[in-house]
Symmetry: C2
Subunit: 646 residues, 2 copies
């Protein structure tokens, strides 16, 4: 008896493994389809449905199949059992069923009205995986890659505007969406669609904050392919990267804003506490991320006399790089900060310092590894979004709320872009032209972050309404706005086929004509960044990398013994290496620096000489993103030329 029973149980567990395999297989299948589709699209130069849109579409179809084709073998799961002896839900529950003890693990809390909808399909439940997988595993590589592949030169050139759009713009967007939604909620109460208590003002603001994370991955991919004007690209890229971080911290701060008495009344103390929270979490996460990167830089830089350098072992170096960057995310999460912000700045700092210390082999390896992980994670998320429309079981589609959200999102985007552009243009030497503003307005896509924030908590009805609405907004913006990018570019007469370096030099040249001097550049980059760059160039770069002037020449004389100890031997005599630092100081040396740095021999000696040069040039561009192909579009007619494959 015991025997037979045991083997039955083994068989059951085997079934469980097979189930896990089936779910993973479904995702693999969707990804394979997506890749084949991308290949097809690339061949036909089809740009009206981007790969992410395609992934979403396949997910949608698969969700439909799972929902309506698979049977529901698990009828028990709709029943609710009473348990009088417990006070709260423990993380593990042991249950005695017909003399056999089963262990159950806490999954989530669900509200009463969802219990009925729960009857049925075990497959659907399996396909809706744990939101913590999004946060801990899928998002970090995407965000890290964004930070690691930041085009630093162009980014810092537009830093002021980017910060304004990311911080002020996101706050405006959050507030505008919140206010409009509150109006709609009031109207819904008025016509009797909602009971008063269901939606508070804080819920509306919460919705505003999560819908403020723009994610123009589709748009940027097209921009990159078409070589759209670099300033526009940088503005949108910088905004979307930072704005994800801002939106996440904002969402977190709002969810901790709990006024003491009436949830609808404005509580100044709670508000300031939230603002304090926001600043504290942002600063803490920033510090956490950067310090992990600095540790990585120091480890990879170490050249103790008895030790072979770590860069002699590319595999260990890559492993350490990967693990420390991921740890930055996890530590921030574990400490109650925001991992996304930490990993973003970790990526930026890694690219700035650690990358210079890596061996040529590791440069290639890390670049390709993060690119690959980004690619997979992104497509998994978009597939999953498609799946979620049919497999998620607690959707609440409220037509008025959805309509309101569409209106709110577009009004909020407009009241973010146009007023801020106007204000920024007052101060900018290089104005943001009208057509750029329209394009930025148009590129306000919502994607992975908005979805991940919305799915994080779907236990109550308001959250479920918000989740369903957010999902529809993501679908609409990715398919309609994403698909409309190429026509929109043509229609707005935006320059395409621009070489970033040429562009930079041309713009610099057009400003100051022939007598180009240091003051122009200095005036352009704000004083704060000049100070930072001086400090970085003189002290941090020599301390953390092999580049920059030796510390012995930059530190005061009495520090000499320490300075000599801390400076890499290779730092003496090649101060011209670090192209982008020098750039901030003096713009017109740039071209020569780029060339010279591409040919300076790097410390590691191996046979792949040509990688070194490629690697070096790449990071100066920061272009780690898109698998090495380029398509050129003829300007301005928008006709497609033969693609020149790099």
């Amino acid at each position: 008896m015991e025997k037979l029973k045991k083997y039955v149980s083994v068989k059951d567990e085997d079934d469980f493994y097979h189930q896990g395999a089936v779910e993973l297989l479904i995702f693999n299948f969707l990804l394979i389809l997506t890749i084949l589709t991308i290949w097809l699209f690339k061949n036909h130069r089809f740009r009206f449905l981007h790969e992410t849109g395609g992934a979403m579409l396949y997910g949608l179809v698969m969700g439909l199949i799972i929902r309506y084709v698979t049977k529901s073998p698990d009828i028990e799961s709709g029943t609710v059992y009473e348990c009088e002896r417990l006070k709260s839900g423990p993380s593990t529950l042991l249950i005695n069923i017909t003399n056999q003890v089963y262990e159950y693990q806490y999954k989530r809390e669900i509200s009463h009205h969802n219990v009925n909808g729960h009857q049925g399909n075990a497959m659907l439940q399996k396909m809706t995986f744990d939101p913590s997988i999004f946060f801990n595993i899928l998002l970090p590589p995407i965000i890290f890659h964004a930070g690691y592949s930041l085009k630093k030169r162009h980014f810092f050139r537009n830093l002021g505007s980017i910060l304004a759009f990311a911080f002020l713009g996101t706050a405006i967007s959050c507030l505008v969406i919140g206010l409009i939604m509150y109006g709609f909620v009031k109207a819904m109460v008025h016509i009797g669609q909602l009971k008063q208590w269901e939606f508070h003002f804080t819920d509306c603001i919460y919705f505003g904050s999560l819908m403020s994370a723009t994610d123009p991955v589709t748009v940027l991919a097209i921009f990159h392919e078409l070589n759209v004007d670099t300033d526009l690209y940088t503005l949108l890229f910088g905004e979307s990267v930072l704005n994800d971080a801002v939106a996440i911290v904002l969402t977190h701060s709002i969810s901790t804003y709990s006024p003491k008495e009436n949830p609808n009344a404005f509580d100044a103390a709670a508000f300031f506490q939230s603002v304090g929270n926001f600043l504290g979490i942002f600063a803490g996460s920033f510090a956490m991320g950067s310090s992990y990167a600095v540790v990585t830089a120091l480890i990879s830089f170490m050249h103790l006399t008895k030790f072979t350098k770590l860069c002699e072992f590319p595999m260990l170096e890559t492993g350490l790089f990967f693990l420390l960057s991921w740890s930055a995310f996890l530590s921030a999460e574990a400490a109650g900060l925001t991992g996304i912000v930490a990993v973003l700045f970790c990526g930026v700092t890694q690219a700035h310092y650690t990358y210079n210390n890596l061996s040529a082999d590791s440069k290639m390896r890390t670049k390709q590894l993060f690119e690959f992980m980004n690619f997979l994670a992104e497509n998994v998320i978009f597939c999953y979004m498609g799946l979620a429309l049919f497999t998620f079981q607690n959707h609440i589609f409220n037509p008025l709320f959805i309509f309101g959200a569409f209106v709110a999102v577009f009004v909020a985007r407009a009241s973010n872009i146009y007023p801020l552009s106007f204000l920024l243009n007052l101060g900018r030497k290089q104005k943001i032209p009208r057509n750029f503003q329209h394009m930025m307005m148009f590129s306000g896509l919502r994607g992975a972050i908005a979805f991940a924030l919305a799915i994080r908590d779907t236990s109550c009805q308001p959250q479920q309404v918000m989740f369903s609405t957010a999902l529809l907004l993501v679908f609409f913006t990715v398919w309609v706005l994403g698909g409309g990018t190429t026509p929109m570019l043509t229609w707005l007469h935006i320059r395409v086929g621009v070489d970033p370096d040429e562009d930079l030099k041309a713009k610099a040249g057009s400003q100051s004509a022939s007598n180009f001097d240091k003051n122009t550049t200095k005036a352009e980059s704000a004083w704060l960044f000049r100070i930072w760059y001086g400090f970085d160039h003189k002290y941090l770069k020599p301390l953390l990398t092999h580049t920059g002037p030796p510390l012995t020449s930059t530190l005061p004389e009495w520090c000499n013994p320490v300075a000599r100890l801390l400076t890499s031997p290779s730092a003496y005599g090649d101060q011209l290496k670090d192209g982008d630092t020098v750039y901030i100081i003096n713009n017109d040396e740039l071209a020569e620096n780029c060339e010279s740095s591409a040919h300076t021999p790097l410390p590691a000696q191996d046979s792949t000489g040509s990688i070194q040069a490629t690697g070096k040039e790449d990071i100066q561009e920061g272009d780690l993103g898109l698998g090495g192909y380029k398509l050129q579009l003829q300007h301005p007619a928008g006709q497609l030329q033969k693609n020149s494959l790099a």
Copy 2:
């Protein structure tokens, strides 16, 4: 009220995310420590504790800390609740606790005597992760990498012996361990330590099958570093790779062997059904794995007129390669076959066909990606094994059983290696010398696979006894046998510092002196493989890759129209490309082939010319395994020389 409650729940869920982050962070921390240790060891040329041993040690210490330092906040979890209304454990359970519904997910079945041991530490429970993660996520990259990095030339040279050790040897080992353990169990029953019904003969055989998976990852890493004699390396590598597959299928077949009446009696029908199962599952998995690889080869080979080849997009190519290989594993699991076997042969086939079609960039990418994933997965598993000793909550350490297992494992290894070597030496031209046999005997380490098989089911007492014993055996063999590898090599006077190519030529030369002719090689590789190689060279290679003679010349004349359609244009005129195929036909052309193929231009054109050559040479060696460093040991004194870093 509702409001406050909602925010409390948000806070709870946040805590859950943070928990997930903490667990991942612990693993990250262990891996970082391991990498730093490896670096230290490499510097000090310390070879008595291998990285996997180090990872296990750190895991052990961390497990100790988690067990005795963390508090146990979750007192509820020891209580068993009765549920009369249910007949069996559903996959999801909804429980109403103080008017709030919680959803619980089925985790596992536990036996009554474990319920008490369950009281307490939630952290311990969190650290013991789902065994399906081992099977679906951590094992596939390790096994795939083993297949992908197979040194084909040396492997096929010793194929007969390898198959004998892997199939016959594993069966012998399984049976011997089973019989000895059954003796010990009888003795334990006799002295009253066990009740009769607890351990059946099938349980003993089950234990034998799971302990028969040798995993000499430590030994092979040291062999590789020291360039130990290639034949010995190949025999051990080939045996361990195939024997994992055999042991897994064997375990599966034995668990389905359920005699009708008395479980102790021998039931011929059930036995033959198990043997049939074994053969069916093995063949099915082999077919599944190879066909996925063939599909990958076909896709990457396709050159439709309207399409740019896939190899123009290295990222898509790498992605497809990765996903299809993983799908081979998942499909086999989902179909009730053995994923490990599927992914192993998928790896071998991918290396044989698909690799030749990849662009130079993708060759690098896939090689590094799989190497990296293998490295991470391996170290995660060994860390986890260390952790499991203290965090796993249902250990049963039975001293007599453990002693019996140690005896059984060594007796079984001896009765596998020595008799088989004797028999093989009767037929082998190149005998397996005495010291090689001793070394193979000594290298019978147990590792990841034995552990993964043992942890797969720990619901009953016999399984728990087996799991605890297997864990101790892994510890002992990895630390003691693994650490003793270098001294043992010296003691047995085994050649080190051997160049594989030189070695092969020298051995071939010594056999037939100056008048080396084709017949020697032909006689050495059995007739079955000559036929297979002829077929492969003439039909499969031209069909699936760009190498080999054009199909038009190998197929009968009436097939010409079809042949012309299927042959790659680049196949005409470069028949000398595929070094290892030609090798089987004629050994002494090898050196020239290697050189010529290393310099033949590959289809994809990019700037990294030197990678191409490296990539090409690498696959001919199949050496994708160990991050590009070499250590040389002076023979025979065993003194360590300065390491020459490649």
